[in-house]
């Protein structure tokens, strides 16, 4: 029996009894038991883990771990988290009262994805992918409205994009979630032609590590 890891938490009470609390370097991993032979892509398992993830976030903010990481026990958890525990603890303390929200907006004119077969070098293909994503833009007025309506409500924000959409990740105080959703409704009324999805709250995902400082 393995334990699929949902997140990293500051306290045991943040995890139990929703999931199994696995000690790791003074922190706790939330584990969901799963049979070794059960495929990771099993629909019921995915739905179960997603529901547990949501319940854990209601309890307290945690650092999300990408689906698929599993351990067989505390010893393995300790070993695999050894190099990151201090940074995770600092992040969990700093952001305990905050959650993430994301806004995805469809591109006004999605770029054509480069055809891998047209490139002899992998580096050239990756460069073309990056360039295609870089040229994605949404309605400029919508972006201005996002900066006016949403970003002031967030402690931090970060833009990212792929070949078909632009995404704004927001780190917001838990008590500001309703205000962010209300701002999203105002945006929807003001820009009915712009397809966008405002979702959350989510655990620490984009703002879970030091790469985005």
């Amino acid at each position: 029996m393995r334990r699929l890891i949902v997140g990293v938490h500051l306290q045991r009470e943040d995890v139990e009894p929703i999931a199994e609390a696995i000690p790791a370097r003074g922190l706790f991993l939330s584990g969901v038991p799963a049979a070794d032979e059960q495929p990771l892509a099993d629909r019921d398992l995915l739905i179960r883990v997603a529901a547990i993830r949501a319940a854990l976030l209601e309890r307290a903010t945690f650092i999300a771990i990408r689906y698929g990481f599993a351990v067989t026990g505390a010893e393995e958890a300790e070993a695999k988290c050894a190099g990151r525990a201090d940074a995770w603890r600092a992040r969990l303390v700093a952001h305990r009262g905050e959650v993430e929200m994301t806004l995805k907006a469809g591109a006004a004119a999605p770029a054509d994805r480069p055809d891998r077969r047209e490139f002899s070098k992998g580096a050239d293909y990756l460069r073309a992918l990056r360039d295609a994503a870089h040229h994605i833009e949404v309605d400029p007025a919508f972006r201005v409205a996002l900066e006016r309506e949403l970003i002031p409500l967030a402690a931090r924000s970060r833009w990212s994009r792929d070949a078909a959409s632009l995404e704004l990740a927001l780190l917001v105080r838990r008590d500001a979630v309703d205000a962010v959703n209300a701002a999203g409704e105002r945006l929807r009324a003001s820009f009915p032609a712009v397809p966008f999805l405002l979702s959350g709250p989510w655990p620490l995902e984009v703002f879970a590590d030091d790469d985005h400082e």
Partner: protein, 57 residues
Amino acid sequence: MEETQEITLLETLDHLLDRGVVIAGEATISIGDVDLLYLGLNVVLANVDTMARGGKR
């Protein structure tokens, strides 16, 4: 399933499958799992498609 519920489920699965910290040594295992990668791609594609349809209403 209503469209709103469908979008919520797709977005939830997108975050589950494609967000969060990747533990060193596990990324290869996840990518090597063909079923998982296939499912992840379909969730993302379905999500974009659903967003586009929602925006056209």
